[in-house]
Symmetry: C2
Subunit: 391 residues, 2 copies
């Protein structure tokens, strides 16, 4: 798997706010995040030796591809390989992994990873259609399946096996929306009640509106550097101990168990093995709560909550920022928003702020943190484990 | 740049024919090429440790993304990282480079690179719009620029500086269409006369219909292996001496010289330096002749023809299969076709057949060959240098 014989660190982070910015161009979002990350790192642009840009529906919704090259052009990085990577909702995590690989394998000393998406200008029908580009449309398309429909089925399976209730799942929504209030970049931070959730529109039974992440625009970026040659400020470095990418079944018929995403299980196992740390050492996890039920399933798949206990941990407040295993102190996709291709790098942005001790919703003793980015029906996944550089 | 401390070879190749196959799904095209490459290599699927898939307009034209994951699922490669890479028309070359990197840097011993595109089901207007996703649409879009328009401007500049004539450029068309007759995978092999070219529809002055590559469907794939651990048939291995990726200006306003693509110049220089061979050692070059004039400019940029002499070499037959520098013995994009995301791997397929000595339009003494894949307005480029394994 990944070889990190050469240690890799994140030296700079940047992000736009996440939200509805239909007037912004997709290029300007990516550029804003990239410039902020480069400035935060204090690195000269000419030292950047590789650019990876995660984006999902630029082709389908915006009519603009070659986004990595456009960003490289705008940054005057001529000559440098600039690559768009796509793995549906995991595109940002894949960009991060490839930037880490470029540095870890000695291709360059500094690499830029950017994620971006622009969605809010389109109609709900257009967005639903574009998001369905992440399905196996020949296998599951004819059934009329959408992603809310898919995660509704996941919820049903989890409830049938473990007795997961509406109140349990609402606890995820309440926590993440509240966490979002402490995140200045978040789209939907608020206090929300069980009653409001119950009264919101039914999207795909049992998922209601507030169980679904919003449609978002935004971008996030990180500058990855080789620790051995980094001459900048070392005190703010965050080390990447592991950045793993896996794949899983694409079609519903390919799942042995609808309560689990094999790509997440495998990615987490590999990330723990590669980093040499255990779940109990994690101070927080930023995971892929595209829907409320996803946070429960993901937490079990990642091995940070016992199998079949995800809904109990949520309901009991054990995943709150001051709980046993803080999950999504950023507000997660549910409250921070989900500009699809940006999400994986938005999670890295949040994790770095936690590990620097400068997060607005800071967890205690943040030495190690995890990020988890899931694509489509679990067909692509990335898990990264980050660590405070001066630990 | 790329580190090939661990030697990398191509052990297997596969390709669909290139042409109009509107009834075929994009997944089935990719799968056909991948399965053929795996069978040609004689490798067990479970040894594949990474999948890179090049595709450009799957989102805009087909409504299907996550193609790398879908392919991995269909090949039962669960767990393996599967990544779509996009760099407009250079997407296939970028996939090849990343498969080579995955093996060369020890992430795995066997990697699969696939390129695919499906276009012929769409209307000309839809295709033109989708291809324009490779432009900087905010900078050049308002002028109404299309790719035929862009390469028409390139031709005008080359003609103004070097006196390039319609007959010179037609020599490229005649050669490539004739070469295509010897390629069983080609879409448009034929004998064509100057008069037919002159009489064909004017697309974007001075480009006529036969100066433009056709709209194509198709897929191609290669299996990349670590030479040090390869236990299969060694006599058919083709070594990858260099696989370089660069970037260049995205906007017309960014070009100092419309007669040259800086990304190609730099990629070729790096590929020669990395491989340690010179242009005079190349037995053939498969280059990116998306339009007839592009072959002339590319040949100069690559350093295989003297600057300002590309049109003369074409007109004098020096780039024919039995000439001084055979260019596009496959028929190139003009005759073989240009299923965009597949093209870079289609070029690798052709080069491997030449270097195995089994090409239907075989060049003499094929020990070293080059492939060149150009994206958009030259914003992305890959150049690879391949060598017969038993040289």
């Amino acid at each position: 798997m990944n070889t990190y014989a050469r240690p890799v660190s994140i030296a700079g982070i940047g992000s736009t706010r996440f939200g509805k910015m239909p007037e912004r161009s997709i290029e300007s979002l990516a550029l804003e995040a990239a410039v902020a990350a480069i400035e935060d790192a204090g690195v000269e642009r000419r030292r950047i030796g590789a650019v990876y840009l995660g984006n999902f529906v630029g082709g389908a919704l915006v009519g603009q591809e070659i986004l990595a090259g456009l960003l490289g052009d705008q940054l005057d990085l001529h000559g440098v390989p600039c690559t768009k990577v796509e793995g549906a909702c995991a595109s940002g995590g894949i960009a991060l992994r490839h930037a880490c690989l470029a540095v870890a394998t000695g291709q360059c000393d500094v690499a830029l990873a950017v994620g971006v998406e622009k969605m809010s200008h389109a109609s709900t029908a257009q967005v639903t259609s574009a998001l369905n580009c992440a399905m196996d449309n020949r296998a599951d398309g004819p059934a009329g399946l959408t992603f809310p429909g898919f995660f509704g089925l996941v919820w049903g399976a989890h409830a049938a096996r473990y007795g997961t209730t509406r109140r349990d799942v609402s606890a995820v929504v309440r926590k993440n929306k509240a966490n979002g209030m402490r995140n200045p970049l978040a789209q939907q931070g608020r206090l929300i009640t069980d009653e409001e959730i119950d009264a919101s529109a039914l999207i795909a039974d049992p998922l209601r509106l507030h169980d679904c992440c919003p449609v978002s625009d935004g971008a996030a970026a990180v500058v990855v550097v080789a620790r051995d040659v980094w001459s900048g400020n070392r005190s703010r470095l965050v080390d990447v101990l592991a950045s793993v990418q896996t794949s899983g079944p694409a079609r519903i018929a390919g799942f042995d168990d609808p309560c689990s995403f094999p790509a997440t299980v495998r990615a987490a196992q590999l990330a723990f093995a590669q980093s040499g740390i255990t779940a109990s050492e994690l101070a927080f996890v930023e995971l892929h709560d595209c829907f409320s039920i996803a946070e429960i399933v993901d937490s079990e798949d990642l091995g940070i909550v016992p199998r079949g206990q995800g809904h109990h941990w949520a309901a009991e407040g054990r995943t709150a920022v001051d709980g046993d295993m803080p999950i999504n102190p950023s507000g997660g996709l549910l409250a921070k928003g989900h500009p699809v291709g940006a999400t994986g790098l938005g999670q890295a942005f949040e994790a770095v702020r936690q590990l620097r001790g400068e997060h607005a919703n800071q967890v205690r003793d943040a030495v190690f943190g995890m990020t988890h980015n899931l694509g489509g029906t679990g067909v692509a996944c990335t898990v990264s484990i980050l660590a405070r550089g001066d630990r």
